[in-house]
Structures are given as C-alpha cells and as structure tokens.
Symmetry: C2
Amino acid sequence: MSLNEDLQAIVYHFGEMASRWGFNRTVGQMLGLIVLTEEPLSAEQIGQSLNISRGNISMAAKELQSWQLIRVHREPGDRKDYYVANGSIWELAQQVMSERSKREINPTLSLMRTQLMTSENDDSRLPAYSKQQIQQVHDLLELFTLWFADVQNMKQEHIKALMKMGAGVGKVLELKDKLIPR
Amino acid sequence: MSLNEDLQAIVYHFGEMASRWGFNRTVGQMLGLIVLTEEPLSAEQIGQSLNISRGNISMAAKELQSWQLIRVHREPGDRKDYYVANGSIWELAQQVMSERSKREINPTLSLMRTQLMTSENDDSRLPAYSKQQIQQVHDLLELFTLWFADVQNMKQEHIKALMKMGAGVGKVLELKDKLIPR
DNA sequence: TTAATGTTTCAGTAATTTCTGAAAGTTTAG
DNA sequence: CTAAACTTTCAGAAATTACTGAAACATTAA
C-alpha cells in the first residue's frame, strides 16, 4: 500500500507537527492518513502505508479513540477493524479543542481556584502581588474555558457565518458597541 | 532563596504543564516564578529557588525571551541580569497565543496552500476526496489565524467587556443575528 | 469446541529531549 | 589594558518518551 506522493507529504507533515499539537508522531501520521482517506483503513493497510509496527498502530488507534477523533467501522463477514474519521473537519477540530482545553487549562484552573480560596482570608499564605497575578491568570483561563465551551455548541453554519464576516471577535465586538446604545 | 510553599506549588505545577503548553519543564517553572514574583530575579536567585544549573537557566531565559515573555532589567552599578515579566498577564497570554499560532498553525497552512495551488488543475496529483478535506482544514486554520490576529489587537478593556458578557463568540453571534435584519 | 484470524499488552530497546557543568566568551570598573 | 564578575555555549550524561515484536488475549466461522 504505497501512498500518493502529495498525500504522503501531508501525512508526514502531520507527523512532524504532532508533538506541537499534543500527540506523538505516529498518532499524528495516522490521524492525517485517516482523515484524508475516503475509505476506511485496516491496521494492516496503515502499517504498510506508514511502516510502523502492529503494536504502535494499536496504541495510536487507542489514543485517537480516546480523543474521539476516529472510530471503528466493521464490514459484515470481515473480522478486521477499519478506522474512519469521527466526523467532519469542523467536528474533529471541536474535539481537539475540547480535549486540549481539558488537558491544558482545567488542571491549572482548579489548582488556582483552590489556592485563591484557601488564601482568601489568610495573608500569611501568598504575597499580595502573587495573589493578584494568580487571580488574573485564573480569570483569563476561565474566560478561555467559556469560549471553548461556546465553540462546542457552534454548528457548521455559524462557522460559515464567521468566515464570511472576514474577521473575528474584535469586529463582532465593535459591531456590538455600535448597535447597543448605552 | 527558599520559596513560599504555595508559590512553590504553582511554580512546580507550571513545570508539569509546560510540555502541554509548548515548552520544557525548566522554562515553565521559570515563567511561573518570574510572573508571580514582583521583584526582578537574578539567575542566581532563580537557581537557588528551582535547583537548576546555571546553563539550564541561561537556555530557559533565552527561550522565554524568544517568546517575548520576559525581559532583562539592569540595576545601575550592578552587572547582573535581572528578569521580569514582559507585560501584564493579558499581554503575556497574547504573546503565547501568537507564538503558538505561528508554530502550530502557520507551517501546516502554508504546506496546504501550496499543495492546493499545485493540484488545482491537475487531477493526477491528489484524490478528489483528499483535496476536499485539505481544503476544509486549510479554511479552518485560516479562520483561526484571523481570530488570533484579531486577539492581538484586543486591548484589556475589550477583554473586560467580553468577561462581563459572560459567554463568548456564540452569544455575540446570536446577538448579531437578532440585531442585523436580513 | 477449536483453529483461524484478529487485536492488545508490555518488557526491552531505541530515539529524542532535557540538563549539567566546565570551558569559552563578554562586559565593565578601575 | 587587565582582571573580576557575569553570561553563554555545548559535549556528554541523564531522563523521558516512543516504538518494536513476541506473547497473551479475544472473537468468530465452521
């Protein structure tokens, strides 16, 4: 199963970017391959395309399933697992954002929340300046969390609307300023 | 230079989260320490607080400067470098987002752009389905890039406005739907 | 059942990333 | 200039992360 040259370039690029996106090379390559391929792919096919071991494929598939980015498709009368992308590009992106928000933001948010609580009325715990800074980070992370939660509920149509608007949050805010009398 | 216990907990937490945020443990710890400390810190003080080698501090400082998250402060009549956070929490967050967008999105965006161009009128290059999917990813990444650029231009006041609104993009879009007659 | 056809696990190995500390480099007071 | 006070670099060591492949496990057709 040798890959189309251009496709291979993108798949390998996904592999290289993977560590920046929060997973390892194999997971990145497999995600690329599965997302860009119309047909469901068996572990065997994936192994031939990417030259990786059976065990590695199994672990990467598990990881991609834990991110809910792929799912298993089965053909009647065939015991093999075939992997497919778990939705549209937009749905996959939502999934990645949600998962990354969970892993990159939530733990810090809860630690800070706890510390701000316990040091609330106890000046002996944190220096005032540190407390202020922690509060600032906390509030910002909370805002991001709200945004991400919001993005979860955005449908494709909303995305298209945003795309047509040409710019983002700032423009929308200006709009709001103009439209809402104060 | 031993650290306040609560502060230490956060600083170490920053170290643990660092790899998820795109840097290594030392860089994460140093960022935490510098951001939460009011006084400019020398390499020596940092070394004592975090128990890391001189070389490691130097490399981490370089990394943080390349992200524009810290800058060097010098006292007259003192040859030491003292490190300080390069702005408010919001400015630092903007910086991180901008840098991550550069590292996580731009390379993929340009590869895809190039491939979509060269395969535009050449059906022999990419399967139609792959081309579609690549286009979708490309468009979404472009939208993210626009959003991030927008965030660059948002001032603290805008952020506060957004925080007061309680939710994010979705609500603003609903607002727009209601206010703009079609 | 059972044998064939798969998948998963995991111990050991390989690859990659990070850290140390000594040597080289830089800056400035005198 | 020179020497003291710092900072940076970088080769090798340590720590971490990822990968392989063989053995264990699971499923199903006959």
